[in-house]
């Protein structure tokens, strides 16, 4: 029973990470209809920036805040410089550009900081909080931090004029432009916010998976699965999807473990995490493309 609770708690912590990355994906998807294949590598790059800042002697939280700001600028720059000119380009061109970004960020991180695995510190005190035996302090901290970030984002979109303008630009660009919203800048801001949220996820997960250029590959895949489960057009759904998929992932591994213990037959375990995500992605895409909370898109032909 305790083991089950432990798995559940660690699923919650993973789910928080997936929720962040999924939210970043959805923010870009809602406003531009693009799936950002480079989201994971951007987050990984941000994490390296925070590592660099810390190795220059900054404290964790100062490096954290600085990284979030730098990532925001990075996201805005990418949108303005690289994606803006491709406004009307065919889908394949956009996908190719994202894959190009993925390759660039991955190899640049390797070039600057080498492919060696680095340890990443946890900002949370070792034993002072957390519920002994069930959830470790880092996991609890991750959940808290992501909940705070999600709360801030919600408040921003719900209660500030800028947030309202961004929502308007995403929902109905023509009308938003008519009432004086600068739609293309709103898209750039959305990119910046997505990059920042991704950076938070990267910094939080780096302590668990260790810092290396390929650390986000699996997480990005799970974030895709989360966004799809929640409905890729629904930000709140993506967050819920993140937690659902995070818990599901650990429950599947737990069940596999129990089956192996009971019958001695190995079916599924930690080694098949990505395969599980692949199955979720293909299953949702083919059976219920709108996800649990998404809007069903009806197109006139």
């Amino acid at each position: 029973m305790e083991q089950l609770l432990q798995q559940f708690a660690s699923g919650l912590a993973n789910g928080a990470i997936y929720a962040c990355v999924a939210l970043a994906l959805v923010m870009i998807y809602v406003s531009t209809d693009h799936i950002n294949f480079a989201q994971g590598e951007m987050a990984m790059f941000s994490t390296y920036i925070s590592w660099q800042l810390m190795s220059w002697g900054m404290s964790f939280w100062i490096a954290f805040i600085l990284t979030v700001i730098i990532s925001f600028a990075m996201g805005v720059l990418i949108e303005r410089l690289i994606l803006r000119p491709l406004h009307n380009a065919p889908v394949l061109s956009i996908i190719v550009v994202f894959i190009g970004l993925l390759a660039i960020f991955n190899s640049m991180a390797g070039a600057f900081w080498s492919y060696l695995i680095k340890e990443f510190p946890s900002p949370f005190p070792k034993a002072d909080f957390g519920i002994a035996g069930v959830i470790g302090p880092h996991q609890l901290g991750v959940v808290l931090v992501t909940l705070i970030v999600l709360g801030l984002l919600f408040a921003f979109f719900r209660y500030t004029p800028l947030g309202l303008a961004m929502r308007a630009a995403a929902q109905n660009p023509q009308m938003a432009r008519l009432v004086g919203v600068r739609v293309d800048w709103m898209l750039a801001l959305g990119w910046g916010l997505a990059a920042s949220v991704g950076a938070v996820a990267g910094i939080m997960v780096a302590h668990i998976v260790y810092l290396e250029p390929n650390m986000m590959g699996g997480i990005l895949l799970y974030a895709f699965a989360s966004a799809l489960v929640g409905g890729i057009s629904n930000p709140a759904g993506a967050v819920a999807g993140g937690f659902i998929v995070g818990i599901l992932e650990n429950m599947v591994a737990y069940a596999g473990n129990q089956i192996e213990k009971a019958t001695g037959v190995y079916i599924i375990g930690n080694g098949e995490k990505l395969t599980v995500a692949l199955i979720i992605v293909i299953f949702v895409l083919t059976v219920k493309p709108a996800g649990l909370f998404g809007r069903v898109v009806v197109r006139r032909v």
């Binding site: 209809d33 693009h34 799936i35 294949f37 690289i82 000119p85 491709l86 380009a89 889908v91 394949l92 061109s93 996908i95 190719v96 550009v97 894959i99 190009g100 970004l101 993925l102 390759a103 660039i104 960020f105 991955n106 190899s107 640049m108 390797g110 070039a111 600057f112 080498s114 590959g217 699996g218 990005l220 895949l221 895709f224 699965a225 799809l228 190995y266 375990g269 080694g271 098949e272 995490k273 990505l274 395969t275 995500a277 692949l278 992605v281 293909i282 895409l285 083919t286 493309p289 032909v301």
Partner: protein
């Protein structure tokens, strides 16, 4: 195919056949290593052609063709390792297995379009190394260690080196496959494939069985890439799960985009190109480190990434498209 381009293709084939025979004359220019490199380029060209049939001619995206390459390579490796099948017989076997796998993957892909298909295949590419390491398959796939094989031996006592023979073998497979692709594209089926790419609804209305064509194209495309995988297993004489990750699929995409989407010549150029960059990145890094004294490891993927974005801006039809435009301009100027 126009008569003039037929002449060019024939000339290129004759040249390719004669090159290794020049080895005694110019031992430094035509070395065994270079021939091996050209063999890997040929394999790359076949893999890119597979992706091109799907994306370039049928309009379905795949970021996961590395998966079919892996299936082909493992099919060949397992047949050679467990059943002592000769290397040449693994090519049709890999083609059949990959056709089936590709056809099956094409079924759910029918429901997906654009970004979503890219997403599903991207997920496939990410998961491949793990699937290959799956415990139940370990007896067949050798798990993390992979499978070590023998290099193809020169048959009939021909006076050729191993690398020369490999080169001829790859060349033969490539000629057959490109000939097949050219004929298929030039037929009723090929036109149906392209009609689906250009105007899905119109093609459907005209009575083309779009679902059948899309899934079969997926299968053929996977078979082509799988044959390339089988060839690579013979050429490198080794397969291991971690060489079939997402970056392999990205290489195929590079070949497709740089060479030219929807062009047979482009597939060849693209294959040559990515092997070339992959191989010169190391010497470039050494140049940067030793001669410029910068602590910077240039990876081939930095070049790939920058080029992917640059090509989309500057030459959306790739090298082949650019050459064609230049050719047309020149002719227009003369006329």
């Amino acid at each position: 195919m126009a008569a003039s381009s037929k002449k060019w293709v024939l000339g290129a084939i004759v040249f390719a056949v004669l090159v290794p025979l020049l080895q005694p004359v110019f031992p430094d220019v035509v070395s065994n290593y270079r021939l091996f490199l050209v063999s890997t380029m040929i394999i790359a060209a076949i893999a890119v052609l597979g992706l091109n049939l799907l994306t370039g001619f049928n309009g379905q995206f795949s970021l996961g063709h590395g998966a079919f390459y892996a299936v082909g390579a493992y099919t060949a490796a397992i047949l050679m390792d467990k059943l002592n099948v000769p290397y040449w017989a693994t090519i049709p076997a890999a083609a059949i297995v990959c056709f089936i796998v590709g056809y099956l993957f094409g079924l759910p892909a029918l429901k997906l379009e654009g970004h979503y298909l890219a997403l599903a295949t991207f997920a496939l590419a990410l998961a491949v190394p793990q699937i290959l390491k799956y415990k139940w398959l370990e007896g067949l796939t050798g798990g993390v260690q992979g499978i070590v094989l023998m290099k193809p031996e020169v048959p009939f006592g021909l006076p050729l080196s191993e690398d020369q023979w490999l080169y001829y073998f790859c060349l033969l497979v490539m000629i057959v496959l490109f000939w097949g692709a050219a004929n298929m594209l030039n037929s009723r089926s090929g036109r149906a494939m392209m009609a689906i790419r250009d105007q899905y609804l119109a093609a459907d209305t005209m009575g083309i069985d779009t679902a059948l064509y899309k899934t079969v194209t997926f299968g053929i495309s996977a078979a082509y890439t799988g044959i390339a995988g089988a060839l690579s297993a013979s050429a490198i004489a080794f397969v291991a799960p971690d060489s079939f990750g997402i970056f392999l699929s990205i290489k195929f995409l590079i070949g497709l985009v740089v060479g030219g989407i929807g062009s047979l010549l482009g597939s060849v150029l693209g294959g040559i190109f990515y092997v070339l960059v992959d191989n010169s990145a190391q010497s470039l890094t050494q140049f940067i480190r030793n001669d410029l004294g910068l602590p910077f490891d240039l990876s081939a993927y930095t070049v790939f990434g920058v080029l992917l974005i640059a090509i989309i801006y500057l030459m959306p039809m790739g090298i082949a498209g650019g050459l064609y435009m230049a050719y047309r301009k020149l002719r227009g100027a003369r006329a």
